[in-house]
Symmetry: D2
Subunit: 483 residues, 4 copies
């Protein structure tokens, strides 16, 4: 039984990270390191499946951090072989209470052998597919949308596993970056829009697939290239085969990966995530300047933008909020007091620095606003003269259905309030979000967002969903009215 | 049995943090929060003792982080009462293998009632005292130097516990900041030199003692004042009594608390630790300027000095090294690969930022130099053009005997090499340490260090020990020759 | 990961016990007690599924004893509702290494709702069924033969779950006593031969299904009747419906349930198991008398027969072997010494009693003979003058394929040796097994075994298998040649 | 934190077993086996201390069964060396809540080296000694009476450890059978009355000390002799030295060791415990015959006396009550239902056997009568016609102060009721206890108890305490009035 999350840091949560290796002795050890580097993409649980010629498939799935489970000799010895994939997750779409059977990779035994898959993203027609599959005799073991893929593969008439996977993926809608394996092949595939990231690397004679480049760095692998939107790569002893099994579409990569999800030391689409975030700060300083004494960040995610804002504005950057390094995300059976502490367990104001100052506080996003209120209070308690919030993303007004845990729409502060209402609600001296065009400039689109054909998926800001969320619509979700 | 420490981050380690509360319902809950805020002072183990009128004394001692143990309802319920003290520790002086019986607070039953003590610091004559006490019939339960204090108290002829403690402490030599309790009193005491910190705060009708002010902040207590060097405070329902039981001496506070041990959001001697560290960076930039493109820190301890260096030099500050937030200090039963990963598990270079740049890398200290070498290699691998190390403390050339875990003298890089030899050993383009005078200026001594009567304990830099380390001298340690 | 079994007590192992309750508040608590009483039928793992109108289906599956898992408040609270079933198991047919996913009850979600099943027995055509189901697109999650039933149910075209279960069970061969549940019904069913036991009881307004009557006693339920061979009962708020969905056959209950598997305080087919075993001892004394000083049992399973033998022979019964009450079946990570201790960890000879005596030692069965040898040596070491083995079952010469863990045929002592060869191998003064006719007399068949139409399944003694073990035959198992 | 004991089986509880080995490689492994064989003497916790020339002293103390802790490779590897002692315990005299620091062996560091002691028995002047020792400066770590011995040793002026132990033991009153060790010697000692047992054995070149002979058997050691009352043996490489440091007294061995505490396969004072118990049954049949159909035992402790009663009376013996083999003594966090189940979790009536019968039920003792009542009800529920209780010990009317956990006097049924009142209270057809003389005859005193100088300690029956329980008298306990 997984522990409670009394500590709400009020962020959108990336749901998953995926990683796979072929051609290295004890591949599972490398997968463990890769997952550790991807831990920011999912802290609730992790799993690894490996294959060895003698031992066949083995798997281990655990709640908790990678470093607490998949670094142990006794566990890793149960995962032998030169081929392994792994997954870290925040939580699946379907499940209220986390259960180990919902932890990926999922495994299926087919007549031509076994396969395991690890999925980052979310299928927007999973509920309809699930009903149909159950009607036809499939037994589901998890509450995860991703399990549909295994059952669709089981019912495919194709002769080999990569083709069955193509068959299956042509039936699903939504976002998927998948790392999968058979007993001899490592497979990577991205949905036609390429919503979630997936990259390929090399290390010695081995190949690596990973959600982000930072996980290549930790094992010393060289970045080779990104898997293209709509591409499937199949890697075995003979090298890499590339397929494009889907109808081609214009890509719509998730812009929030740049804003918050990805690690700053990763490189996406040839751009440094750190540099993009710093540039968002520069844009913010241009769009929303203010007279102030010091620029501070809500650590750690607001720091690059704060550095950029400070550089552009000429106002000094300082560490106004200090993070406790010994925080995890969850507590087992917490006392009432711990439950009520919230962000104070994690952050403390550097009182001597902010006392009497006009402070600009840069954060990456505002979701429900709960944490922003508490931080503002802590800073005022410490004696700041003025507090100016600067947010390194546009107002988050719409839920994500492509693999991100977002509150229901009515819980999003920006869904129900104007910027000025939010300012009053947070009770700060000023509040400014970067504009959608400013954000697009920061990610390299010099002329801003192309309103007719946006270069990214920005549904959480714009309400324009590149794939219709059909399960949700069936449940009554209302799309943005056409303007 | 506690886990192994395969991961060496090559820092001096503060050995302990102490915290105590009187006059608050469920005082142990507040102590748990205080210890969480002091976790940077000791991550190996923690303990809390509480007293309740009905239940008497209760205690719990655990290996691991405060947040993993002392936040649980079921454990905290066993620690009732309005009076409690706690301790976090890195490791005790005497023990090779950690054992739960070495975890403080220590408890003793005397004829006039029980007492518990939590000790930050180290006694330099503990081994001689221990031999003497065993000879006279005392049974030691731990390998800790601190247990001597309990046995000396047991043999005192004084009538009450504070007086017995004064008796005992007059027999010990070395550094001690102690938080202790009887069934009705909270006691705080610092050695005559005041080597380790200890502060007092108020919250409602309650009183708090803490190693640092950052732990007052987390529970919302107001900072009242520091306990003075050589002072004992005895707090009960009637308020605070102050005693000065020792011969008065000029104080010699540990300067390394400013450099590294204390949290940047703490205030010591009226000075912000963050601001002092930033100022060290300013001094460094003045003493050791260099032409460069970017100023980076070894996170997180080098960041304030890097900000100061960047500000003074006018060269931009950037996050050239990214820390993995999901690292703990130890691994249980690690694989060979984990054992060999070292600092790569924790840090990754922001490759896009440093490529082709002349990088100034600011770190707080160099101890054995092992981590510095690895970081330098990671930065060069990432394509930096030049690497210039700037160290925010003077060369660490002497071990500490006052409660800090330091390697033997011959393992300290600065004990055997000149600055230029160290530069060659680390193979960097330049290497500069802040001067001892520069450090003193940064902590507020405008004219630098008073060589005849230094204002701080700086033995780790200067080799001038304010208290003779008698146990160590007996074992053959050679003091610095008089010049 | 379950623990190792270094301790071999050389018995045939019943693989499972099943229990279900409907109509009682917190039904899972009653199931836990029932499973505790059935623990002798399977010690490796246990599981419970419950259903509550608000909470839906919940399940918990654990390795280890029922009493160590399913007595905890915190676990049982997760299993609310008036309807629950449970299962204890020794090991499944398919699995080398135990995995939690092989622990029953198994659960399936169908278009008309969920169902859980717990199976005692073994399907002899499971492997062929599994291949066929996988070919048609089923995804298996366990290595258990029992999972086939769920997949067959999923593919049935029937409209309600009991009918789907009938559909499915008409496809399987072998032995099954099943307790199952939907969200409103408790279902019990036995294969047409009625190889494994299943009884029904009442308690207040509730109904109970159980492998044995001893588990009715623990919860205070009244024994109602046995489920008949080939019968399915479906119990809900409206009472009990009885169905006979299979072609009727002459029943063939497992005779070894009387000899060893069932608990002596259970009643099977109207006969006390204890009394039957005592009567086997009487038959043995008649068939194989011997001059001796004392009759001893290998505790605890040999004791009733020893009492019977003593009574019939007039030689006193004594406790010649004493059992250590603090033994479990398995050890986690045992030392070499523990691994080598074997039966000495569990049994010790009462040296003072056997010294200089002619001892008759009554055991329930001889499987590989490994334990028998060790016990004989212990008794001779203790100074017994003669040792006469009397075995309360015929020679076990054939493996069981109906839900009992037996060694491969060539490991069975009686498969390769005559009685005299076994005597020499065990090196005892005499060795006698009860005859097959004697055994049948003891279970109440006054004229012994009807060779043309045996009243019981006695394949382990006779090699006459009432259901052809088709999977095993396909793998090369050779049936007994027709005589 | 140890688990709760919701299950009361209403027996007197032996508090401890002790075991020690010298001269065998990995002595701790042998100690673990010995403690496993002595587990009936204490199930709450166990500990082992070993000494190795290179590694010095090591210790491990754990709650729970020996077999769950001290069979693990990883733990036993931490206990190297040819010399080790161990202890199992039920609970110490002083402690309400069990704590690991109360688990023996206790260890003390003296100026001439370390020593560890394991104590079976109880000191009747421990509280007075403790007060005195604290007054003089000793720090107690446990609430155990046994710790006094270590502190008395620490204050002795003698030069070697055995002499210091003699010094210390001359100061204590009460019962003690002690196994102790220095870095080169194994020491065994019994109090002058020899209340608790202690035997010596040989195995190869090694020597063994044990509470009972059954623990010699498990490791294959030969019984050498009992340690005499008042004797200290000191064993090292040079062999066994014997000392008699106390004033000689007539021995008073605990007669309840014969009745219940010791294992039936142990030999005490040259007599088989099993045979003694069988003989008590014979005496009971002579003293209290009854017309009946069957003789049953409350398993397992009543079985030998039931066999004796059956043999003497000519009425057949049968297993009327069946024990569940999968019971432990304690539950962690039990449900309400488990808390209320009591003896039904452990025992079930063999309904078919007792229905319609006149049953004689033989139990070893009646303490509070709670379990006896429940068993009687279970037997009547099962349809027995008459129930006659026969108790294989005299009425237990006085508490024990020599190492046995007994309820306060007013809770003992026999302290407040006559035999007839007890019969009515239990509501049975007849109730008879063996007489004190009958018990003495069964243990070999042909002419019964010598009222002027009893051969055994039988204070629990007679109220005649061979050592005045001085701590208890000080607290108000009233001795039996002189007659």
């Amino acid at each position: 039984m997984p522990p409670a999350h009394p500590f709400d840091d009020d962020k959108l949560k990336e749901e998953c990270g995926v990683f796979g290796v072929i051609g290295l002795t004890d591949a599972a050890n490398f997968v463990a390191l890769g997952l550790h580097a991807l831990q920011h993409r999912g802290q609730e649980a992790g799993g690894i499946v490996s294959h060895d010629a003698d031992e066949g498939f083995n798997s281990a799935r655990r709640f908790g951090y990678v470093r607490d489970n998949f670094t142990k000799q006794s566990l890793m010895e149960t995962l032998p072989g030169p081929l392994a994939i792994g997954h870290v997750r925040y939580s699946t779409a379907g499940s209220k209470v986390a259960q180990i059977r919902d932890v990926q990779p999922f495994f299926g035994e087919f007549s031509m052998g076994g396969a395991a898959i690890a999925h980052n993203g979310n299928l927007t027609n999973a509920e309809a597919l699930r009903r149909e599959l159950i009607e036809r005799g499939s037994i589901f073991q998890s509450s995860s949308d991703s399990e549909c893929i295994i059952h669709l593969m089981a019912r495919s008439l194709q002769r080999d596993i990569p083709e069955r996977m193509q068959d299956a993926l042509r039936r699903v809608e939504g976002a998927f970056s998948i790392v999968a394996m058979t007993q001899s092949k490592l497979i990577g595939v991205r949905d036609p829009l390429g919503v979630r990231p997936l990259v390929m690397g090399r290390i010695g004679d081995g190949w690596v697939l990973s959600s982000e480049t930072c996980a290549l760095d930790i094992i010393g692998a060289e970045f080779e290239r990104e898997i293209a939107p709509g591409e499937m790569v199949v890697i075995d002893d003979d090298g890499v085969e590339s397929h494009f099994p889907f109808r081609r579409q214009k890509s719509r990569f998730c812009v929030f990966e740049h804003v918050y999800f990805s690690r700053p030391d990763s490189i996406i689409g040839g751009r440094s995530v750190y540099e993009t975030r710093r540039q968002i700060g520069v844009e913010l300083a241009r769009e929303a300047p203010v007279e102030a004494d010091i620029i501070c960040a809500v650590p750690d995610s607001g720091t690059p933008a704060a550095i950029g804002y400070a550089h552009e504005s000429g106002i000094p950057f300082g560490m106004g909020i200090i993070r406790n390094q010994y925080m995890g995300r969850t507590f087992i059976e917490p006392t009432e007091q711990i439950r009520n502490m919230g962000v104070r367990l994690k952050l403390n104001v550097n009182r001597a620095l902010v006392r009497g100052k006009r402070v600009v506080l840069v954060d990456d996003s505002v979701v429900r606003g709960t944490t922003s209120r508490k931080i503002k209070e802590m800073i005022l308690d410490a004696g700041a003269r003025e507090v100016h919030f600067r947010i390194a993303s546009p107002p988050t007004a719409w839920p994500c259905f492509y693999g991100v845990d977002t509150p229901q729409r009515e819980k999003l502060l920006a869904a129900t309030m104007s910027e000025e209402e939010m300012r009053q609600h947070l009770n700060v001296d000023s509040l400014k979000f970067v504009s959608l065009d400013g954000l697009y400039r920061a990610v390299g689109e010099a002329s801003g967002r192309d309103a007719n054909s946006p270069q990214y998926c920005d549904a959480c800001f714009s309400g324009e969903y590149p794939v219709a969320p059909s399960d949700m619509i069936e449940k009554g979700f209302e799309l943005k009215a056409a303007e």
